[in-house]
């Protein structure tokens, strides 16, 4: 993390209120920007990084604000003591709503959040003990000893210390084992789950995190205004927070602060100057604001912060992991006789279509087995059955003698089975190193809180070292800091292999690893796989390049229309009449 810009920013923010002659109104604006940044930062994590769009964040501000309002006015609790209560209430609300909401898939999720956002707003404005539409007034100010933060410029420091801390904690979280799991969410759950990420839990985690930040903002708001009423926690506000995040650049922590600044200053400028230009036309600022918003999105659809960074050509610092650090490794089978994978009459039906039809075969230790067959033969489906992405209709699958009975992918990978995908599933806006480190997810244990406070650094260094080692092993060290999305498709496949190797697998499942590779690259890949086998690993691969397969595999299993039609050494497969028939059609 670059500390210098952060220190400069903090110093700048600290000095601003001390500038002589600064209009008090600017300080009020900065307070509001701080409050909005907190909510937007949660949304950056939730929407920009995690891919869960929420319109309901304003409601969580409401929970934070009303909690402290009720506790301080009705029960006389000190404002500082209500801080944990406010955060807790927002957090609990998030757990309850989150359990319902994060299960929603696709577009249902944002729509669901609109619905409960509006519902909660009406609830706030109808409940007697929350003061109905009038809300609660007379909330005491924050105070330290006898120093009471009555004016906007005294609470200013409290707010911005909150913003800076939140920003640092959020960035720490993103730059960690848990952070990588969160960042992988947006690209679908299958790849993340294949490496042991509990995606529903990760989603719930970001949801709660965003809600707690919103609750913090609400708590500040209540003590800044010293009143709470339903209006700022309604649907409009929820929408506004979302577009603060989008305008700033959803996905960038500092984009949240910048976005809040841009939107709030813009609104203020429009509100105060437009009437001078156009006379006292009411609501003119909303019109211009709306139009400017549309215009801005057309010019910079990914937000102001990334646009600015591209202009200033600032690139994130590269990481140089210390590769001498080692992670614990799995015990290897010494003998070659052990059966690693045993498939017994596995069957998968999709409605009336039988994709895999009672297929049985084994993979032994230290063996490269190729699974071949024409398109639609059921090869990838077999992979998905083994790794738990799909559950078999019938039949049994054993890994190292243990039956994997409908185990989810997260459990299968724990047994030492890791895989790559036919359609590359990397996170394109993460570096190669970060992508590969997802593979080592299960070899670390640090949670969100540990990462936020940086107690995970020793483990994190080991994880990154392991990732760097695997990248070096597949020969992509030169690309280690590049974004995965910028590599060629062939290279992306190799990155997937490195990620799978990070699991420290017993059995490596490769789905068309050689597709898109050049001749030399294929030879290098074959050499790598042989070396892995000799090191005690087994490989099961699906591949269409027959030269590659015949040269590499110890044994070949041939599928056609879901049924195993042949199994044997490459030499025997080459001359097998059934195989020739399947590939070339019936010989006359």
């Amino acid at each position: 993390m670059q500390r210098l810009p952060l220190v400069i920013f903090a110093a700048l923010m600290a000095v601003i209120p001390l500038i002589p002659g600064i209009p008090p109104f600017w300080i009020v604006l900065l307070d509001n920007i701080g409050l909005a940044s907190l909510v937007a930062m949660g949304l950056v994590l939730l929407t920009g990084v995690g891919g869960l769009t929420s319109f309901g964040q304003a409601a969580f501000c409401g929970f934070g604000a009303y909690t402290t309002a009720v506790l301080t006015t009705a029960y006389g609790v000190s404002p500082w003591l209500t801080l944990p209560a406010s955060l807790l209430v927002s957090g609990i609300a998030a757990v309850l709503l989150g359990i319902v909401t994060v299960r929603l898939s696709g577009h249902y999720l944002p729509l669901g959040t609109i619905a409960w956002g509006i519902g909660l707003f009406y609830l706030f404005s109808k409940l007697e003990f929350l003061g109905r539409n009038d809300g609660i007034s007379g909330i005491p100010p924050l105070s330290i000893g006898s120093f009471r933060m009555l004016s906007p410029d005294t609470i200013y420091y409290a707010i911005w210390i909150g913003v800076l801390l939140a920003a640092i904690l959020t960035m720490n979280l993103l730059d960690s084992r848990t952070g990588r799991a969160i960042r992988a969410l947006r690209r679908g759950h299958i790849a993340a789950e294949a490496f042991g990420v509990q995606t529903p839990r990760a989603k719930l985690l970001v949801f709660i995190y965003a809600a707690v930040l919103a609750g913090l903002s609400g708590w500040f708001y209540a003590h800044l205004q010293r009143a709470a009423n339903p209006t700022p926690f309604g649907a409009q506000a929820g929408i506004e927070y979302l577009f603060i995040a989008v305008v700033g650049g959803a996905g960038y922590v500092w984009g949240a602060v910048l976005g809040a600044g841009v939107v709030i200053v813009l609104k203020e400028v429009l509100q105060s100057y437009l009437p001078y230009i156009f006379g006292g036309q009411s609501q003119l600022e909303t019109i211009v604001f709306g139009i400017l918003l549309v215009l801005l999105l057309q010019l910079a659809p990914s937000g102001v912060w990334p646009w600015l960074m591209a202009r200033l050509s600032i690139k994130p610092a590269s990481k140089k992991p210390d590769t001498s650090l080692k992670l614990e490794t799995r015990e290897r089978a010494a003998a070659t006789s052990e059966t690693l994978l045993h498939i017994e009459k596995a069957r998968k039906q999709f409605g009336g279509v039988t994709a895999v039809n009672d297929v049985s075969f084994d993979v032994n230790a230290r063996e490269i087995v190729a699974l071949i067959g024409p398109n639609g033969a059921g090869k990838s489906t077999t992979f998905n059955l083994i790794t738990g992405v799909l559950t078999a209709t019938s039949g049994k699958i054993f890994v190292r003698g243990k039956e994997v009975e409908n185990a989810p992918p997260q459990e299968v990978v724990k047994l030492g089975v890791s895989r790559t995908f036919q359609h590359v599933k990397l996170v394109p806006d993460m570096t190669v190193l970060e992508n590969v480190a997802i593979g080592a997810h299960l070899r670390g244990s640090s949670g969100a809180v540990t990462s936020m406070f940086r107690f995970d650094r020793a483990e994190e260094a080991k994880l990154l070292a392991e990732a760097a080692r695997q990248i070096a092993r597949v020969g992509l060290t030169d690309q280690i800091d590049q974004l995965a999305g910028s590599l060629s498709l062939g290279q992306q496949r190799i990155v997937e292999i490195a990620r799978a190797l990070c699991v420290d697998p017993m059995l490596l499942l490769l789905d068309e690893p050689a597709a898109g590779l050049r001749h030399m690259e294929k030879q290098r890949l074959a050499a790598l796989l042989r070396q892995l086998r000799d090191g005690g690993m087994s490989v099961l691969l699906v591949e269409h390049d027959m030269g590659f397969v015949m040269d590499l595999a110890d044994r070949i299993v041939v599928l056609d229309f879901g049924t195993k039609i042949a199994e044997g050494t490459p030499a025997s497969i080459k001359t097998n009449p059934d195989v020739i028939k399947a590939y070339l059609g019936a010989a006359a």
């Binding site: 929603l104 249902y108 669901g112 619905a115 679908g188 759950h189 604001f289 709306g290 549309v294 659809p301």
Partner: protein, 346 residues
């Protein structure tokens, strides 16, 4: 509870529900074709309703000036987009749609507006004005970013909503308006009285549902729109003009919105900002319908209307809370029932 109250509430619910159904249909349509979640749908409702109400009093609504202005912007965008290959026919077509049509509409409106103008003419003018605004809105705000993510489109949609709502205040003022009823007939049925207005609501809703079903199921253009919805790139590759699909979707949505507005403005007073909430309830119906199914959306809309009617009678304070939390269980059921397929996002 006695039967009369029950029947009254049901009737009320179904009338409201029919309007929500219309809006829900429009939202589903626009989302399916363009991936835009059309928050400004509510503005189409108020623009249609209040333009009609103003025309009925003999005034010229400001919306017609907006249509002209938006037409000019749309034309300028068309010119800019085609700057490298200026074909006369293309420009002529764009000018006809974006310049000639709104100006003709403006002249017609100023000429025809008066206290004695027949209701049918007022309705036609209001519909044409809102239709023009709808089509231009797509051209100006959404066509340039049609390829971006649903989220960006959504935020743009919010921007349009804010701008249009603000303009609504300028055009119609803060006072609410009511329009004259379409028909003064009334049909008694037992304890209930069906007004001509509510019968028109039912009739038009059913007509639209059947019409959309026929359009999407049996016409080439309808199928092209559906193809665009499923896969933009694929649709383009087989020669469907996706821009045109988007414009048609917005045209239909704005017309449906305006009609809903004209249908309800004789029943309830509408304000410049009422549309948002009405639109949202249509939205709830659309969500329950899963943003894909028209008949399901219609049924859901009736349900929403009925729940609203009953909760406003029994727990009027919590009416909105109940209506908006209604969708949560539905959403959960829907997403549990949905197959666990991988979504390729962005």
């Amino acid at each position: 509870m006695n039967t009369t109250i029950l029947l009254f509430l049901l009737q009320d619910g179904i009338t409201n529900g029919a309007v929500y159904a219309l809006l829900g249909l429009a939202l589903v349509l626009v989302f399916a074709v363009t991936r835009v979640i059309l928050i400004p749908q509510g503005e189409f409702v108020t623009y249609g309703a209040l333009s009609y109400a103003m025309l009925a009093t003999g005034q010229v609504p400001g919306t017609v000036r907006l249509a002209v202005a938006m037409g000019f912007v749309a034309f300028a965008l068309d010119l800019y987009a085609a700057r490298k290959a200026l074909h006369l026919r293309k420009i002529a077509r764009s000018a006809a749609l974006n310049i000639v049509f709104p100006i003709a509409l403006f002249i017609a409106t100023t000429r025809l507006a008066g206290p004695t103008t027949p209701i049918a003419v007022n309705i036609a003018l209001a519909l044409l004005i809102v239709a023009a605004i709808g089509v231009f809105l797509y051209r100006i705000a959404f066509q340039p970013i049609a390829h971006t993510s649903v989220l960006v489109l959504l935020i743009a949609s919010v921007g349009c909503h804010l701008a249009l709502q603000g303009l609504g205040l300028v055009f119609f003022g803060a006072e609410g308006l009511r329009g004259p009823a379409l028909s003064k007939a009334s049909v008694p049925a037992g304890p209930l009285v069906f007004t001509g207005q509510s019968l028109a609501v039912y009739g038009l809703t059913i007509a639209f549902i059947v019409g959309l079903w026929l359009f999407f199921g049996f016409t080439k253009m309808g199928k092209a729109l559906r193809a665009t919805a499923v896969n933009r790139l694929g649709a383009r590759l087989v020669g469907i003009r996706t821009t045109l699909s988007g414009q048609i979707a917005f045209l239909l949505a704005s017309v449906i919105g305006a009609i809903s507005g004209i249908l309800i403005v004789p029943i309830t007073t509408l304000y410049y900002d009422t549309g948002f909430l009405i639109g949202l309830k249509g939205f709830i119906a659309a969500i329950i319908g899963g943003l894909v199914s028209y008949p399901l959306t219609a049924v859901a809309a009736i349900l929403v209307g009925t729940v609203e009617a009953f909760s406003s009678f029994y727990a009027s304070n919590f009416k909105e809370v109940i209506v908006f939390t209604l969708i949560l269980p539905v959403l959960v059921l829907r997403s549990l029932a949905a197959p666990a397929v991988e979504e390729e996002k962005d």
